[in-house]
Amino acid sequence: MSAVRWFRKGAEILALAGIALMFVFPFLWMTLTALKGMDEVHVFPPTWIPEQILWENFAQAWGSGPFLTYFFNSIFVAVAILVLQIVTGVPAAYAFARYRFRGSKVLFALTLIALMIPPQLTFLPVFIQMSEWDLLNTYLPLILPYAASAFGIFLLRQAFMQVPEELIEAARLDKASEWQIIWTIMLPMAKPVLITFGLFSFIYHWNDYFWPLVMTNNDAFRTLPLGIAMLKSSEGSIYWNIVMAGNVILVLPILLMFFMAQRQIIRAFVYSGVK
């Protein structure tokens, strides 16, 4: 009996390990490749441990374009978007959660529509709008369309609706202004939701390739994913070790965040679906 159980347990662990490997090993392989020399990359069957660990691959990848600019742009754009989304989203969520006003249904429907329209649908007309407004060579096309988040408004509205009415009334009796109620009472209470949303938004925009690709045609405004993708296409034959080194640079911050806050990040993304 117990021997059978041990065998089954062992088989399960083995199977789990196999599955885990399928998902994790590519990252490992990426890192290993990033450390190899080009001649070793072109060895078949492949070698596991690099004969010579070439850290300079990272420097080479970094030096092959204006990567400092890309890196700065990525951070700047993701942070600017997040800040704007909170500044616009918190009052809107509060209004939807707490006020009854004429037209609220229409405005909420607009929010719903915005939630369902993907950027892949709007990129062409928005690009043309941006060029008509002469904004193409600025950060604005990258930031402005994301300055409000329907998803964020949804999450925050939900959180605000759970705050008991009496708490707000107590604050009114304490002579707090509406603005104060929002930022000193409601927002601290919605902190977990805010963190969830912050992680979601930052990761999404850090990773985003499509929108910056469409909206930039100038290195000064390109973001890291674009730079990394260009590592591949810049020359005729692909220097896989350099490409993978760039890839590690792109992935590492997110993987580190994931290690540190796995629970919150999973909740951020899964919650976005389950609601």
Binding site: P164, E166, L167, E169, A170, A171, R172, L173, D174, K175, A176, Q180, I185, P188, M189, K191
Partner: protein, 386 residues
């Protein structure tokens, strides 16, 4: 300290009348209890005084100033909520401080005031804690401290004790009465609990269906209920109520189809004269009834009691220790009797229930009290000595 006056206050919400022409004078320094069943409008009245809800019509005056268009924060009032409504992300200290900060009280003075109030409420050791880590009673104190520190003209309390367990509630009741004595501020207190209303208030405002039924001192409400509703709301078990008929001559009174055993005294009949030929309600409180076993009846009470009687059989008995509540089925219908006798009667026992005339209340068919003279005599004897 301030008086509060409501003049013809009306509130309608989605075409429903929540408050109907409320006129109310709350004297300076009084402890006024708004009491009534849920949905009677008592909370709405309180919230309109606080400014948390907007009246549809009427005037609200606090301390000789009309405050209809004054924001809640500027009305110089404080409110204690049922759920306490403590700010969960702030410490006890910050909770108490928040209102002072918004009133631009300087930091040093804030600290002094908070330390004072913490001392009074016994919260000195908890100032750094978050509300979530406190017990129910402690949270209650924080809510009180937060209200008191503002030194408001009027204290409003919306069922502040209903989240506490029975023992703590009794204790807090005492403390609130003491607190009111010390502060001398006007208290307006909302509750659905008639015991709280009786024990704490020096004025009771009994509400039902968006109207004030009676506003008076507690014992007046108890002894001279202004109408059927008031009579039956106060007291447990509620006042026994019987439908009766006065014949055209105004001399004979029947309860149901049964003439009462002894005619009513002359002064009662005089008071009921206007009702002759009509239906009325006769009410009597369970503790005012006297009841003896059928066998002993002739010996004990009949002679000395100036009242009528009815025989019946005990259906149920609730022995509560200090008192016993019997439900007796009689020809008049079910009669509730509250007895303080040490000796208990048995369920199924045949009994005689006596109705002393002095304790009978009469209500007209429309529910209004029919006044009669010399009612207060029994109570006057007792309270006069105290």
């Amino acid at each position: 300290m301030a008086s509060v006056t409501l003049k013809h206050v009306t509130k309608t919400f989605e075409k429903q009348t929540v408050l109907d022409d409320i006129c109310l004078d709350i004297t300076e320094g009084s402890f006024t209890v708004l009491v009534g069943p849920s949905g009677c409008g008592k909370s709405t009245t309180l919230r309109i005084i606080a400014g948390l809800e907007k009246e549809t019509d009427g005037e609200i005056w606090i301390g000789g100033q009309q405050v209809n268009n004054t924001a809640p924060g500027d009305r110089d009032i404080a409110m204690v909520f049922q759920s306490y409504a403590l700010y969960p992300t702030m410490s006890v200290y910050e909770n108490i401080e928040f209102g002072l900060k918004n009133r631009n009280v300087p930091r040093a003075e804030r600290k002094k005031l908070i330390d004072e109030i913490a001392e009074v409420t016994g919260l000195a050791d908890y100032l750094k804690r978050k509300p979530a880590t406190l017990s129910g009673g402690q949270r209650q104190r924080v809510a009180l401290a937060r209200a008191m520190v503002k030194k408001p003209k009027v204290f409003l309390m919306d069922e502040p004790l209903s989240n506490l367990d029975a023992k703590l509630r009794n204790q807090m009741r005492q403390e609130l009465i003491m607190l009111h004595k010390e502060l001398g501020t006007t208290f307006i207190y909302v509750t659905h609990d008639q015991v709280e209303a009786m024990s704490m208030g020096d004025q009771i405002v009994l509400m039902n269906g968006g109207r004030i039924q009676q506003a008076a001192q507690p014992l007046v409400v108890y002894d001279q209920p202004s109408n059927l509703f008031t009579a039956q709301f106060m007291g447990t078990p509620p006042m026994n109520m019987f439908e009766a008929m006065i014949d055209a001559s105004g001399k004979e009174v029947k309860i149901g189809n049964h003439p009462i055993t002894k005619p009513l005294p002359a002064n009662h009949l005089a008071a009921l004269h206007s009702q002759r030929g009509q239906r009325i309600h006769i009410g009597i409180r369970p503790e005012k009834l006297q009841m003896v076993s059928h066998e002993q009846a002739p010996l004990s009470l009949v002679s000395k009691s100036d009242g009528f009687d009815i025989t019946g059989i005990i259906d149920t008995r609730e022995a509560l220790g200090s008192e016993t509540i019997y439900s007796v089925s009689t020809l008049y219908g079910r009669v509730m009797v509250k007895s303080y006798q040490e000796e208990l009667l048995r369920v199924g026992e045949s009994v005689v229930v006596y109705f002393p005339y002095v304790h009978c209340h009469y209500f007209a068919q429309n529910g209004e009290r029919i006044a009669r003279d010399a009612f207060f005599s029994t109570r006057a004897d007792v309270s006069g000595g105290v």
